[in-house]
Amino acid sequence: MTSRTRTSHRHRYLLAMGVVAALAAVGCAPSTATNSTDGTDAADAAVAGPVIDSDFDLAALTAAAKKEGAVTVYDSTGDIKKVADAFQTKYGIKTTGVKSDVGDTLEKMTREAQAKNVTIDLTLYENGPTLVGQLLPQKTVYTWIPADLADQIDEANRNPLMVLSKANVWIYNPKVFPNGCPVDNLWDLTSAEWRGKVALQDPLGKPNIIEWFNQLGSTYDAELRTAYKANSGKDLATSEASAGKEWVKQLAKNDPILTAADDDVSAAVAAPNQTEPRIGLVSIAKFRDVAGKGYKMKVCDSLKPYVGYQYPKFGAIATGTKHPNAAKLFMHFVLTAEGITPEMGSGGISGSKAVPPSSNNPPGLTDWSRQLMKFDPAKLLSDFRDAQTMQDHWRLNHR
């Protein structure tokens, strides 16, 4: 075969390939974008309000749930297994609690809804922005509030339904700093003294840190400016849109230690053989390692304006669940003290006023409403829209 004929064969072959590929593309592979909604106008669509059954009857719900026999719940904490066990013990319904990253939960629930092959019946979901930006408007999930507990849930926490408030706090090592936390102002963390010594989970991999950055700018601008003045004696001069963005920029430029998980942050600050001076941002759940692994850590209670932030965990039921009653009963369960206590091992505030706040607060954290920032639930949708902008802001300044 001469090279000439080979070439022409090649071209024809390539052409044929192209035709086949194009046919395959048109015939059987629509984009993932098209089958996501049935014509509704996406994120701009108003999120449907919560469902409160008017004919609610707990006994009937329990009976129906028992008939369904099984329920699966996804959550981002491993404590969900304890909740699942408690639920199974109480009702005899086979319960599977799965710890899963919010991103994976989002992806899987979306795909399952598209496939009408739903295995995740409900989720306790920590990422409010994608909940109101993606899952709720796409009707992948809906908000259901048990009618008998509705009075106990504040109007602000109903849409979406907040099940629990958890907290991320700045911690220090009392063995390294026996006289208490070495910083007293959030702006200290951006100073040269703390360069390369502030540890936090990679914000690009942790949506609630990005959301916190956004809320710093939108809700807590004035307080950050006041804190700046208290720290340096002069007004903050910045070209950024908010004091929050300026703080994020300075932190990003201050060579922080980024980790893939906040376990590495707590280890970096508080491991038994740790001697470096460090400040770290961790979930209060990490305080279980104080007993388990001999970690030395305390909440940095002198930090102004706040020692950390509360982040909400929402409850939502899959629209296409095959166990609708069991899912509802589980939602009811986690809104009672019995159901949510396993998740409040190191503190937490239930979305229901009937459940007393946990007394298991870590050392240094005594008053949640005074010491912790709180996300404004009205800003969830704007947090969703601004997430990428804030990620880029972080990326561009952290290099």
Binding site: A25, A29, A33, I120, A268, L396
Partner: protein, 615 residues
Amino acid sequence: MAITDARPSTAPPPDPLPRRTRRWRYRLSVALHEPTLLIGIVLTVILLYLVIAPLVAVLSDAARVQFGDQPKTGQQAGELTSYYLWRVFRSQVSSIVFWHPLLNTLIVAVGVTALALLLGGLSAFLLTRTDIAGRKWLSTALVVPYMLPSWTFALAWLALFKNERSGGQVGILEARGISTPNWLAYGAVPIIICLGMHYFPFVLLLFGNALRRLDSQLEDSARILGARRSTVLGRITLPLMLPSLSSSTLLVFGRILGTFGTPYILGLPVDFNLLSTSLFASVRNHEPGITAVIATVIVVIGVAVVVADARLLREQRRFVTVGGKGAMNRIIELGRWRWVAGGVALSIFVFSVAVPVLTLALSTVTTTPGVFSADNFTLKYWLAKSLPDAPGFPHGLLRGTELLDAAWNSLRIVGLAALICGLVGLLIGYVVVRSDGSRVATTLRQVSFLPYLVPGIAFAAAFLSLFAVRRGPVPALYGSITLLVIVLAVTHLPYASRSGISAMTQLGREPEEAAQITGAGWLTRVRTVVIPIQRGSLVTGIVLPFISGIKELSIVIMLTTTGTQLLTTLSINLIDFAYDQMANAVVLVIALVAFLATYLTQRLTRTSLASGLGG
């Protein structure tokens, strides 16, 4: 089976020109007796659906507005857009999201390939052409690095070199008071070393095989005619080795493009991103548009490498045919250098197997890593009845049924996928070789290799969207084990089809024709003639996908639903619970399963892995 299946699909062959019906009828009757072409077409159609369609599904996201991105693009969901292209290639974050990762990917890919060629080439030469001490043992031992999950090396590296830069516990060296600089602990250098040690067995297998087949008489003739050693090496040996060199370069280079575990673990502390980690970040942030653009670039680079390789091979084809007749394999006697050479090979084994495995093993029995005092050693992570501080896994690894369940799931699912791979790979080999030069053969060969170039996570995302809903006769498979088996089979098919093609090249038509004369139908021929003769390569076509599949993570994590825990997902879950000790223990179990499966299969079938990879 194949025949009846194939009938309807003869209608749209990959040929745009119309033909007359009479001609079709004749072709059909021939095809029934010699179904190679029919099988080829059926396989091509299936593969186009399973390989090309998912790719198109993912890649088409690059040009359409995704749900939730309406405000950013100012368009409605589903509309055509260039926003994602702009964001990846031109926006202010493009250098972070794309250009730097691209540069880093090229650096790492070249570095890893060079290191793998060096280590693999050296050990292949020593093992096949010299009387190195411990030759037989070493030829099994030096393939083991490939059986360890690639992120094992990264974990071991961190356990040794981690410094205060990345949070968590410091590594053993730092704990001993030896400070490790950032460039040594994280980034390009450790990534190249770790991946190089993981992938050199590829080179060893391929290159070693070619060296073994090289006829030393050719070199001898040149020497007799007065050529210098360097001339022999440059003019005879290297050109003859070029096909296998380029083949192994291709295999290693292709793998690097999609490997994400090691670069993520070792790159994060110093912000060192590759295209694969950038892809992972966009998958994790639920940005299908960005994912699609980056995946496209990776596929394009992969295809470019394959095309380059194909060109190179075509130039070299005439050399390859020289071997085969009256070959002589002359062993160089090293004399007292035997032991030195053995030492060199042994040290490769020590660094690529012993050190990582021992580091991991050590970490599973210490509470605080790097602290070697008596009260720090414990067997609780393996054996304890109860471990109070991790709610997700409240007892030692060997207690309870989790580990066994996961191992059984892994064996069952990956085993089935590997079996399918092996058989389909052989069929592909059969079709490609028997209808050599036809379009079906070319298409089949290239499409069956394509999955190798697509990163696992991109494929997983594609399969999610493709099988999330029912499409015509194909039901919504998401959430089923069937889907997992199909995806694993498709993504690991390249090993099997390579092995199948190279094996079938060596089998002439004669044995089959003899059977045909006695009246044997096609199925009987395959069952009684082809498969028995090709047993060795069939085993390779099953074992290689198995080894690779049992370590597979990115695909599995996207496609498993509750209740299907595999060994790899178990390991990742344990890391999520901050039980690094137990996660490492699971990794050791994975390596053990891969090794035992390989060893036993080779023993039972008297085959060797190397025999199948060539060509």
